[in-house]
């Protein structure tokens, strides 16, 4: 009587939330703050307002890198999702060991590190000794120095990014397919729908959200990936694969322009937030 019970349940989530706030939220706010200042090496200079941002927009190398990033992100995500969808629809019809085997094989490129994957593909694409060129030459074509050729390097980057994530897309979409009520498929067969109609009128609409969710996750992942381009092509040749996260990295650790790189981080962040906002809208997460 009289003694009010205090709800202490929040305490369960406090330690985790503190860690997240410390490493996910505060750094972003701090970067926003830094982006309004001039930096000479590590020394904070005077307040410069939006000058860092304006410089980001007027530097051709940076706007070029945004363009490259958009193309690479769009192409690699589209390829992953399309092939992931096709593979998922295929192995959904099978079950048991075969399906399990395909799933596991599909995830291997995703579980090995990006440094290892980038490096091994770089070795595969090596001009003289790489397996890729050996096979190309054996088939009677001229070899390509993938890493030194502008277009080839861009295609290789898109290829490796897709290669990494096809299995992820497949597994996510497969989970959506497994979630469809079997009676729905049976009913459509009884109603006389052929398998193409079942696919387009039942299966695809039912897995719409898992396709969308994996598209969004992969878009963020490819957009912000800088390890693969760094290891595979190093941004070259002549900035052909200089994606925006690589540019941001170089601004900081090659040119030591931390004000500008903070501004660029904030710009990348804004793009990411827009994509994540779509994610939250699609996911309709509730607790």
């Amino acid at each position: 009587m009289g003694k009010k019970k205090i709800n202490l349940s929040i305490l369960y989530t406090v330690p985790a939330s503190l860690l997240l706030i410390m490493f996910l939220i505060i750094p972003l706010i701090f970067a926003l703050y830094c982006s309004f200042y001039q930096y000479k090496y590590m020394m904070q200079g005077s307040f410069v307002g939006l000058a860092n941002y304006i410089e980001c927009f007027v530097t051709p190398r940076i706007s070029q890198s945004f363009l490259i990033t958009f193309i690479v992100t769009f192409a690699s995500t589209a390829i992953s999702i399309f092939l992931g969808l096709v593979l998922a629809l295929w192995i959904d019809r099978r079950s048991g060991l075969f399906a399990y085997f395909i799933e596991m094989i599909g995830l291997i490129p995703w579980v090995i590190s990006m440094v290892v994957a980038g490096l091994l593909w770089r070795w595969m694409f090596n001009a003289e000794l790489g397996l890729f060129n050996v096979i190309i030459r054996a088939m009677g074509f001229a070899g390509v120095d993938v890493i030194q050729n502008k277009t080839a390097a861009q295609v290789a980057l898109i290829f490796v990014l897709s290669w990494r994530t096809i299995g992820y897309a497949m597994v996510m979409i497969l989970a959506g397919l497994k979630g469809i009520d079997d009676t729905l498929i049976e009913a459509s067969h009884i109603d006389g729908a052929n398998s193409l109609q079942t696919l387009f009128l039942i299966k695809l609409p039912m897995i719409k959200s898992s396709v969308l969710l994996s598209t969004i996750v992969l878009t963020v992942s490819n957009f912000t990936n800088n390890t693969v381009p760094k290891v595979l092509t190093g941004g070259g040749p002549v900035n052909a694969t200089n994606v925006v996260t690589l540019e941001q990295y170089n601004l900081s650790f090659v040119y030591y322009e931390f004000g500008k790189s903070s501004a660029l981080s904030v710009l990348i962040m804004i793009c990411t937030v827009i994509i994540i906002a779509c994610y939250i809208k699609v996911a309709k997460y509730k607790i």
Partner: protein, 280 residues
């Protein structure tokens, strides 16, 4: 009838062919890396390259392991273990809170978790911000720098997995225990954990893969004696001047633990990955 059978076997054959092509494309870089790492320099530069029928040698492994590389392996192991322990404890507690309790700011804190999943997946968004911030706090290049960051980056996913796992445990079980006079402390620390073992395994797996495979965060945060394995591999690219023997030996060493863990607990990985996505 016969036609039907032919058709069935053709489809089977095509399916196995597609599966084989898929397997080759997915595995060939790793396979070729392992083969290269076992060749002596003369064999490596031989055209056309031999797949089998060369004298295997461990010389590149000796070269690689005689230097700093072994230390960076140990660093990676330790950092990953610390990150896993921290991530599991914090992730489990938060997951329990979110799954079982009502409190103020719950949806706000949950929002933090949801945003964190895609955000930390591509941690290079946070790379420069976190670097500047950690530098300000004088927390770069410390033994605790990377474990804390790895735990934080992989925490949203771990919490997400635990929420799904704990929600699947019938609440009646907890209520029954409470009626029997069991303390809340006992429920959280003794009763529930054994019931969510699969979630523990899959959260641990996610944190391990995230920590072991990280390069970019480590590359700006630590150096010298605190280097991690992926960082050492990247540095080899400059050090050995793209000498592919030592390079492929180091990548093989880096891949082995991942493949072992993945082979044992691949199912857990898939179930963790799809924990929240199943509801179409």
């Amino acid at each position: 009838m016969n036609n039907h059978k032919v058709r069935k076997y053709t489809i089977r054959a095509v399916e196995y062919l597609i599966a084989a092509i898929f397997a080759v494309i997915n595995l060939i870089p790793v396979f070729w890396g392992v083969i290269t790492s076992l060749k002596n320099p003369r064999e490596i530069s031989r055209i056309p390259p031999q797949i089998f029928g060369f004298e295997p040698t461990l010389m590149h492994y000796q070269t690689v392991l005689s230097g700093q590389f072994f230390r960076s392996i140990m660093n990676s192991v330790l950092f990953s273990l610390f990150a896993i322990m921290l991530g599991l404890i914090l992730g489990y507690l938060a997951g329990y809170g979110f799954a079982r309790r009502k409190f103020r700011f719950k949806s706000l804190l949950f929002f933090l978790v949801v945003v964190g999943i895609p955000l930390s997946g591509g941690s290079s968004v946070l790379l420069i911000p976190n670097y500047l911030y950690m530098l300000k706090l004088h927390m770069t290049n410390q033994f605790y720098t990377l474990p804390l960051i790895y735990a934080a980056y992989n925490l949203p996913m771990a919490i997400w997995i635990f929420i799904a796992g704990i929600k699947a445990v019938p609440f009646e079980l907890e209520e029954a225990a409470r009626i029997d006079g069991v303390s809340q402390h006992y429920i959280v620390t003794r009763l529930v954990p054994p019931l969510v073992k699969p979630s523990i395994a899959s959260a641990a797996l996610f944190i391990f893969i995230g920590s072991w495979n990280d390069y970019i965060t480590a590359s700006v945060m630590v150096s010298g004696n605190l280097k991690v394995i992926q960082q050492s591999i990247y540095d080899f690219m400059g050090f050995f001047g793209l000498e592919w023997g030592p390079l492929t030996a180091s990548t093989t060493i880096a891949v082995i633990p991942i493949l072992i863990v993945f082979t044992i607990a691949g199912r857990q990985l898939v179930s963790g990955l799809t924990a929240g996505a199943v509801k179409g």
